[in-house]
Symmetry: C2
Subunit: 397 residues, 2 copies
């Protein structure tokens, strides 16, 4: 430990994204340029690393390995959904860790819930009168963080979702007598990711798109599916995990007597099969949505790195209780700037998909297309090992 | 129609692969070089196009579009699982189509079941005394075609599966208190695809690998999961859809009173949750396994194209009732040759994963690694549209 300098600590929080480790890369590279920063500490397993004084010395990782963070899936430092609380003694433990490691700067890379944690840590520091500065780096595939044009990680997840749904549609359309296929996409509270499938062109798009923000009418859904299937002999439905289906559809008990582990797509698949007697398949795109390096958006990766670097610059300049936010200057050409917003405004807020952008269950508005297209248009190149597997860096080993 | 020349017809059959359209590309490019070939006809929806005299004129597609077949997911001409039968009048209808279009050469791009169709059509032609020559082009992600070193489409699917499972493992390992995650992979009769996850290195591989060819013992599975979870606090299981679980696990009725639509992973997830009381998630990699252009293997694509071209050369040279097969000359360096094998030996046969390559439920043999590595090591570059979506060619429009 270097006593004359302040350490910078960083942790990852909540569900990973395909570019969360690119933000970590940006943090490390920028932090190395700052002589006022001593140790660069990566907390293991999110805030738990701070509670348990469990860190990776990020300065010690060789440069050629650090580069791999840009294509490493998952949270390279581990993550956590732990809610910090006074009763559990978390704040006391964290204060001890901060003092012990001479931490002056803390960066929290996460989504809505994590920004709440970030806010609490910043508040605590202020109340304790110590000079720990705390800044949040935005991250969520759900794109539901408030006060920023978009969330880092969303464009890459959108690229994954668009391309996977295209594959599913082409697969479904390959048979003369096809099926109804339900594709469940992440998003409990906001439908941005499911909405991205609206960018697909006519013969490769889902027939129906259901977001949590869409009105949901079971009878209307069945009528639509029937009509589409009779015309095309297949029907693909893209739906968010959080669509507001009637509670009873989801709460049926399974054969073991407890509530089903199934998602909404599986439940609706049964309903459609039962009511319409058509062949049905359901699938969840699942974990790869928040991890797939092959579909990382170049813009997203660059912004992830820049948000990380920007956070380092601002926190060392004395800023605190803020989150880095992206402001869009223009869409054509695509230009953005970076700024800071109050954590208090972001913590636990949800930016829903605008209802006025929902034209119908079959189509979204052109405003949405103009918003999304520049975020996703370019891909990246990944480097592979001898088995054809994407190389990565695991800092938890 | 050119009366002095014989037409070449081609159809796609069974489930698609990520490179089935690359074989179509190879067929078209090679066929154009043969002056003895008149029309180049793509049957729509597999053998149904032959029955219904429903074709795409493949000569009329511009070259820049044809190239896109190399990265087009799904079956660009449509596919079919229709079983040809005398009773339905299929053979009579096909004979009429052949005569009407002056078809002298027929290529069938498919897996085991499709090679049976291919064999029946070849037999029919011989018995009718007409000079239709029929050759099969091997294709299946399952790698279970007999008489060939490997099946075209398998290496790309294996690359997709390996990389997706790596993402799932990294995701699962990111939490201090993780879950048991079951990943279901295609393969009803053979476990080649699930086995591919054995190529992943120590911190990114599944803890348990179950193939249809593996012994399955419920008590052993539960003991293994418990032991692994207690040590690591997470556990990832890669399993084939066709693993031989006890019938009763799968046949429980769902809340609507009919058999569940669920796969084996979902059923086993419930079992593990019930018996061990640990958090469990299950997922199916599903359709993208047989479609993902982002993980196409360069070797697989080249071989797909060459198998298509080789079939054209052989069928115009008078060969019939054969399937193109790949023979491996050496693994280090990787070298293969192409030859023909009797359709009769391939039709409906299944090449299982060798039992002697299954070391335990935790590991496969080095022989398997040496077999698979050269098939998967290199990737391809894909071209994108302005929205970041992989470009493709749909011939069914």
């Amino acid at each position: 430990m270097n006593e004359s300098k302040k350490a910078l600590a960083y942790f990852q929080s909540g569900g990973p994204t395909a570019v969360i480790n690119s933000s970590l890369y940006g943090v490390i590279e920028e932090a190395k340029k700052h002589p006022e920063i001593g140790d660069i500490l990566g907390a293991k397993y999110g805030v738990e690393g701070l509670i348990n004084n469990d860190f990776v010395d990020l300065r010690s990782i060789p440069e050629e390995k650090i580069k791999l963070l840009q294509q490493t899936p998952g949270a390279a430092l581990g993550s956590s959904r732990h809610k910090v609380s006074e009763e559990k003694g978390d704040f006391k433990a964290i204060a001890q860790t901060v003092q012990k490691n001479n931490i002056g700067y803390l960066l929290v890379n996460g989504g809505n819930d994590s920004m709440d944690t970030c806010f609490k840590l910043a508040e605590l520091s202020r109340k304790n009168g110590n000079d720990l500065k705390v800044i949040g780096i935005p991250k969520t595939i759900d794109n539901d963080l408030a006060e920023t044009d978009h969330s880092v990680g969303f464009p890459s997840a959108a690229r994954h979702v668009m391309n996977m749904v295209k594959m599913v549609v082409l697969d479904a359309s390959a048979y003369k007598e096809g099926k109804v296929v339900l594709v469940e996409i992440m998003g409990r509270n906001a439908g941005w990711l499911t909405a991205s499938t609206d960018l697909l062109s006519d013969n490769e798009r889902p027939d129906l798109i259901y977001l949590p923000e869409s009105p949901f009418d079971e009878e209307q859904l069945l009528r639509d599916v029937k009509e589409i299937y009779e015309k095309k002999r297949f029907c693909v439905i893209a739906l968010s995990e959080g669509i507001p289906v009637h509670h009873e559809i989801l709460t049926k008990k399974d054969p073991f007597g407890h509530s089903s582990l199934e998602g909404v797509s599986s439940s609706l698949a049964k309903l459609i099969k039962e009511k319409l007697g058509i062949g049905v398949r359901s699938m969840e795109l699942s974990t790869p949505e928040r991890a797939d390096p092959a579909f990382v958006s170049l813009t997203d990766r660059k912004e992830a790195i820049r948000c990380g670097a920007f956070a380092v610059k601002e926190v060392t300049a004395g800023q605190s209780e803020k989150m880095v936010a992206i402001k869009r200057i223009s869409s054509k050409p695509y230009r953005v700037s970076y700024g800071l917003v109050d954590l208090a405004k972001v913590a636990n807020a949800v930016k829903e998909f605008p209802k006025e952008w929902i034209v119908s269950s079959k189509e979204l508005s052109n405003e949405f297309k103009d918003y999304l297209t520049p975020l996703c248009s370019k891909g990246i190149k990944v480097s592979l090992d001898k088995n054809g597997i994407i190389k990565s860096l695991n800092l938890l080993k």
